[in-house]
Symmetry: C2
Subunit: 341 residues, 2 copies
DNA sequence: TTGTATGCGTTATCAT
DNA sequence: ATGATAACGCATACAA
């Protein structure tokens, strides 16, 4: 078998507890013995067993990452890799590990989270998405299990939960206002699954902006899709097929990309015939032709902030929940133009 | 504290070992007591502690996933989310968890892997990429630690390692041959970091195909980038700037996407002025305008196969290494046309 | 079929 | 400052 703390202890002629103290950099240890122990550790190439440590300390030093069910949100969405990169960067600094959970259905996701919690597989959880009536949030709150939500919590008392979010009512409004300033009066909005809180917030902001300009909210200018790949195309086509179709469309980058192609097939030109504003500012919106105006939401930053918030919570579990709103920014490119009928 | 196996044992008036056996579905347990124990488990809402289990059984039931350093391969590459989805699907069936490691530099990646192994944090590892002179493969081989490589191992004896791969010499050749059949004689190849084995294999296949057609291999038609975002654009521009520039380009989907835009800026048309063949067939190549001909490599399948191979290896560690080659397929779309000078 | 006892590799609590 | 020793929660060899 592999070398354990006992081997180190006997090699350095001390007790295991002493070795443990050296490992923990305990101050009350003589420089003398510390040195001897370290030498033994090096000589034997000893490395503490993580599982045994976890059991004794009751800490796994692991964070559970919960992805949305792949049935709904395509893994193709660059949001997740990027936010995980942010989380990972921060977690790494404190030697925390990342445990990833990915399931097909919402039900399976819930079960996996339940297992993580009940089996004490992780110390805390980051939910990478927020849904309306989210069982996960309720469950974790109820279990008093440390977690951070990425997105706005759709619960009765949001201040009870630690979360990181963009102000998506404002991103929705900003996209819309920008287009109305360009004299657009018929603006379509295409978003993913309607039970996503982010979709709801953006819709709300969109409606606010329209109301402010005394423009009507037309339901046939609104579409939600579930499957990003096929659904978004359908949504676009249906929105464009109504009488007096929109002169501008707002949607996520990934969707805009597909739209760009359909637009071309229809013989339309962007931005002359149709203006486009995207959310999220993935790399793709910069590379598209034409480059697409998009609202940057600082995904990496969302990740680092989430991890930071989680550490805060773990350090002092009695402290009251904190929230962070990451700023957004409209990145203007070449997909919008002034509308002249 | 939470409810343990002892609580269940006393509740059901049996020994802890009996409870443990029921949990393990041991055959030598009377239906009677099994029932009583299960009731106690349900009543107390007992769930075995994963850490304690791991320590006693010396099994973590966790697989370590090793991503390439984010400094090199952008996380934006949809390959990773998709392959992880495949791995996850298979892992889920046997109740294995996924531990994710992501680092900035190659050095950090190595250190993280070392820690995973030494601290026994995972039972096995899947390397999601393969590099030339890969320290990781050598290290894991040397440590006799179970792992599966995604890609072709660049070691002296590949048959020593369990791996899943596409035949990338053939994908490289296929892309090239397809273009030569369309009468192209000047074909550019743009790939990412030159120390990636997949890039080397595709380059090899490309050269094979050219040789077969008695076409010269021109170094100025070849370009490698490290940063996908900016580097690939530079690579394309430099390849197109040579005397007698290529009439066709082969590259990864993500890169093709950027190329498509540059092509438009240059006033060229695809496929009339330039033909394009992509590798990997990400969703993006279908949505591009025009839709891009791409070689599908079944990324999801790569993931499931990797996990299956790993399970095989864990079940019988004495068995000799196995390899799986996942088939590829040319998906023809509208980015290629016959060349007529 | 079931119970007893020991081990898994640490940390933490008492002593000294 | 250091050493014994008891947890931590479960699995398992051995007994019965």
């Amino acid at each position: 078998m592999s070398v354990t703390i006992k081997d180190v202890a006997s090699e350095a002629k001390v007790a295991t507890s002493t070795v443990s103290r050296v490992l923990a950099n305990s101050p009350k240890i003589s420089a003398e013995t510390a040195k001897r122990v370290r030498k033994a550790i090096a000589d034997l190439n000893y490395h503490p067993n993580h599982t045994a440590r976890s059991l004794a300390s009751q800490l796994t030093k692991t964070i559970g990452l919960v992805m949305p069910s792949s049935a709904h949100v395509s893994f193709q969405n660059p949001f997740f890799p990027e936010v995980i990169r942010g989380i990972s960067t921060e977690a790494h600094k404190k030697n925390y590990g990342l445990y990833l959970t990915t399931s097909q259905t919402d039900e399976e996701v819930f079960e996996e989270v339940q297992r993580m919690v009940q089996e004490k597989r992780v110390d805390a959880i980051i939910l990478l998405f927020s849904l309306e009536n989210d069982r996960l949030v309720h469950y974790l709150l109820e279990q008093d299990f440390p977690f951070v939500l990425l997105g706005r919590p759709a619960v009765t008392n949001p201040k009870d939960v630690w979360y990181v979010n963009n102000d998506n009512v404002r991103t929705g409004r900003l996209a819309t206002e920008y287009l109305t300033l360009l004299k657009h009066e018929r603006i379509g909005l295409i978003l993913n699954r309607s039970d996503a809180v982010v979709s709801q917030d953006r819709t709300y902001g969109y409606k606010e902006a329209l109301a402010q300009m005394n423009l009507p909210v037309r339901d046939d200018y609104l579409a939600y899709y579930t499957d990003q790949h096929t659904g978004s195309q359908d949504a676009f086509i249906s929105v464009m097929s109504v009488p007096e179709p929109p002169t501008a469309i707002i949607a996520e980058d990934m969707v805009i990309f597909g739209i760009l192609r359909t637009v071309q097939e229809l013989g339309l030109r962007v931005p002359d015939d149709l203006s486009l504003v995207a959310f999220n500012n993935y790399m793709i919106s910069e590379l598209a032709s034409p480059p697409v105006t998009s609202i940057d939401i600082q995904i990496f930053e969302l990740g680092t902030q989430a991890m930071k918030l989680l550490f805060k919570q773990l350090e002092d579990s009695t402290s009251s929940p904190e929230q962070v709103i990451v700023p957004h920014q409209l990145i203007r490119r070449q997909s919008c133009s002034r509308w002249q009928k």
